[in-house]
């Protein structure tokens, strides 16, 4: 096949890159997609094995993935090897960077939690004066949320909450269990709303770009995918000020290649996109590229309680089970007095069994206590907005390169008092709701994992109307280079307390529609 110039070169095949390919190819643009990972045959890639046949009985090879707490010995090969593609950080400020390199990216493994941001996030500065507003609002993004939710088959219950806009849902009409109703009623007396989890049902085993976006994009005949292509640099023609394509390394051979395109869309995941652009030394006249890295602090089992009626298997049928979502409820009104800005959200479940670590016993006594509590636990996961701060940033570490010779990222990020105070409020408040519901609180944990753990990292190429304080404009288009777009979570201005994937998908779709319009007008 002769080398050709494509209309658009897309870096990355996950939620954002996949949505760009889906949208652009349907508009008739010839797209080339590069992904750093392989095209996995999932039927062959994974084999059933008993834990005792693994070399480390499920503990995992010591030191293999020190920052990927989600990894276990079964799925260790699913994650990016930290030795092959390292990153650096201040040992006093560890960062858990969790990465996947294969077609479909992290959209193969996400928890499918599908929420919209609201104008409490898009216009956050208007509410509390901190940071910047987004250049867009919910109404502008809403039509794209509608389409993304349709494609990913998001289920949910409409509530009419301003802080958690309803979506284009497959209605969740399941009844709540008795324990859920008790908790929701108790929370309501404290002004805390609850709703059903909003979740992408997807199709078959995945709710991923791999099965929901890329097949349709390929069917247009306008998409060419090259896996195992590790992008090294977005190339720039200094004479025209436009990008011309991407240089990449072929995984395996380490051959250096270059692909040409009239426009480049970067959707390589938040920090990989920023790393690629920083290594390319482009699109950073503002000097804010790499800055304002944020995410949500994250802690599972932040409150664990026992539902007394369900002890010893005595709960009536249907009394426990199921889960729900507590959207942000703090700092929604101007006159609220809390010692932190913004807010947090939680998802909760009923009907589990507490972890052995929460019992003071061992041996036979532990087994008896666990048996008594089997299926009788309430548990929740807290996720709170980490404020976007200039000093939380990434840069290129010139002294370290990865297995492909590409300079790695240095990550400087830490949580501050605002996040710690918020997390304490979360566990105290939910603990109180549990007690009101008649549950016995077993443990409250106001601590959380290192930054990065939630895999909700956003920012570092933020959008904005002012080219001096933002990297991208309101269309995810570089202020500096009009044929360059960045469509993933790096474009976020704030993180909110909601899981980011639906917003990433919607932004990417919106940016891609704009790109197609501009290309048609000859404006790129």
């Amino acid at each position: 096949m002769a080398t050709q110039e494509y209309d658009v070169l897309i870096v990355g095949s996950g939620a954002s890159g996949g949505m760009a390919a889906y949208t652009l190819t349907k508009r008739g643009l010839k797209c080339l997609m590069l992904d750093a990972g392989p095209n996995v045959d999932f039927a062959k890639q994974r084999v059933l094995k008993p834990a005792h046949e693994l070399p480390y009985r499920g503990f995992g090879k010591p030191g293999k993935l020190p920052h990927v707490l989600q990894a276990n010995e079964f799925n260790a090969n699913q994650w990016v090897d930290e030795k092959q593609v390292p990153y650096t950080y201040d040992p006093k400020k560890p960062y858990n960077w969790v990465r996947v390199r294969m077609l479909g990216g992290k959209s193969l493994f996400w928890a499918r939690m599908s929420f919209r941001l609201s104008d409490y996030e898009f216009k956050a500065k208007d509410h509390d004066g901190f940071g910047e507003n987004w250049p867009i609002n919910h109404a502008e993004l809403s039509p794209f949320y509608d389409k993304a939710e349709g494609l990913f088959r998001v289920t949910g219950r409409k509530e009419g909450l301003a802080q958690l806009p309803d979506g284009n849902f497959i209605p969740d009409e399941s009844t709540d269990s008795g324990a859920m109703k008790r908790f929701s009623a108790a929370a309501k007396t404290m002004g805390i709303p609850t709703t059903k989890i909003r979740r992408a049902l997807g199709k078959g085993p995945f709710a991923s770009s791999f099965n929901l976006l890329l097949p349709d994009a390929l069917a247009t005949g306008n998409l060419t995918i090259v896996p195992n292509a590790v992008a090294r640099e977005v190339t720039l023609d200094k004479a025209t000020g436009k990008v011309t394509g991407v240089s990449f390394i072929e995984k395996g051979s380490n051959r250096e290649m270059h692909a040409k395109a009239k426009a480049v869309v970067v959707g390589a995941s938040c920090l990989e996109s920023t790393r690629l652009l920083l290594n390319s030394k482009i699109a950073n006249s503002s000097g804010v590229m790499g800055h304002y890295l944020c995410d949500q602090f994250y802690m599972n089992s932040s409150v664990v309680a026992i539902i007394p009626e369900a002890r010893d298997g005595k709960g009536p049928r249907g009394f426990t089970g199921g889960g729900g979502y507590i959207p942000r409820f703090r700092n929604l009104k101007k006159n609220e007095k809390h010692n932190f800005l913004r807010g947090y959200a939680l998802d909760f479940s009923t009907g589990g069994t507490p972890d052995p670590k929460l019992f003071g016993s061992w041996g036979e006594d532990l087994e008896k206590e666990m048996a008594s509590c089997r299926g009788a636990a309430f548990s929740c996961t807290s996720m709170g907005e980490a404020l976007p701060r200039f000093e939380n940033h990434v840069s290129i570490d010139k002294n370290v390169v990865d297995a492909y010779g590409i300079p790695v990222l240095n990550i400087q990020c830490k949580y501050t008092e605002n996040e710690y105070t918020m997390a304490k409020d979360a566990v105290d408040t939910i603990g109180e709701a549990c007690e009101k519901a008649g549950f016995q609180v077993m443990n409250k944990n106001p601590k959380f994992y290192n930054p990065g753990y939630s895999i909700h990292e956003v920012g570092t190429c933020r959008m904005g109307d002012n080219p001096k304080t933002s990297v991208l404009n309101r269309w995810n288009q570089s202020h500096d280079i009009k044929n360059l777009f960045v469509v993933d979570g790096s474009s976020f201005v704030t993180s909110g307390s909601q899981n980011p994937t639906m917003t990433i998908l919607s932004l990417s779709m919106r940016a891609s529609e704009y790109l197609a319009d501009e290309a048609k007008k000859g404006n790129l």
Binding site: G37, P38, V40, Q45, R46, V47, L48, K49, P50, A51, H52, L54, Y56, R57, G58, F59, K61, P62, G63, P66, F74, N75, A76, N77, Q78, R101, M102, G252, M299, P356, K357, L358, G360, S361, W362, G363, E364, L366, E367, M370, N443, N445, K447, F448
Partner: protein, 220 residues
């Protein structure tokens, strides 16, 4: 066959058998078998007979024929590790306990390959366990009776669990060990075999019961 078609046929054939055919074309002069069975995927190729006809050889795992050599712990530390393993995971409900599951031997192996921080938690913890036993009962932990063990373990383990590891080396070790010995036991072959026979045990089936999991092969 026309040359063009012959070239196409060559290109279509899997690379490995073609290479092998070239290697074994001259008379075999080495003592190695001419064909490595693993390199010819299924069926007949080049007239070597069907691989399916080969008799399967019975083999066993090293654990069925030998014992793990202790590498990490000192004699005193290992004796304490064994006693503590048996205390925390005794045989229950017809399921093997930590000793039958060779959990102490496995953990000794795991520690030998672990990073320094985990090694340190165990070293300091096991030494503290023995020191505390000597102080309170004038003997090592391995020699304590059940009530003495309860007296020693209750205070550190009754304190509420916290996310940040406890400052006290003994408490820190006990908390790590309580989780580790459970995993090492329920993920053992012995536990898996018993779980299959009994239906379920502590932790039930699934991954934690030594059951099956989907293992990801290397992406390279």
């Amino acid at each position: 066959m026309k040359r063009r078609r012959f070239v196409q046929a060559l290109a279509a054939a899997p690379a490995v058998p073609v290479l092998l055919a070239q290697q074994v074309a001259p008379p075999a002069t080495t003592q190695q078998p001419a064909v490595n069975p693993q390199m010819v995927p299924g069926g007949t190729r080049g007239g070597f007979g069907s691989m399916e006809d080969l008799q399967k050889l019975d083999v066993v795992s090293p654990d069925d024929a030998a014992s793990m050599v202790q590498r990490f712990c000192t004699v005193d530390q290992f004796a304490a590790l064994q006693k503590l393993s048996d205390t925390m995971m005794p045989p229950m409900k017809g399921m093997p306990g930590a000793l039958e599951a060779k959990a102490p031997e496995f953990l000794d192996f795991l520690l030998g390959h672990s990073l320094a921080d985990r090694q340190q938690i165990y070293k300091l913890g096991l030494d503290a366990l023995n020191a505390q036993s000597r102080k309170s009962f004038s003997k090592t932990f391995a020699k304590l009776d059940a009530s003495q063990i309860t007296e020693l373990l209750t205070p550190p383990l009754k304190r509420p669990w916290t996310y940040d590891p406890p400052a006290d080396p003994l408490e820190r070790f006990l908390r790590a060990f309580k989780a580790d010995v459970r995993t090492a036991t329920t993920n053992s072959k012995e536990y898996s075999v018993a779980a299959a026979a009994n239906g379920a045990g502590a932790g039930g089936g699934g991954r934690r019961g030594g059951g099956l999991g989907l293992y990801w092969n290397s992406l390279d």
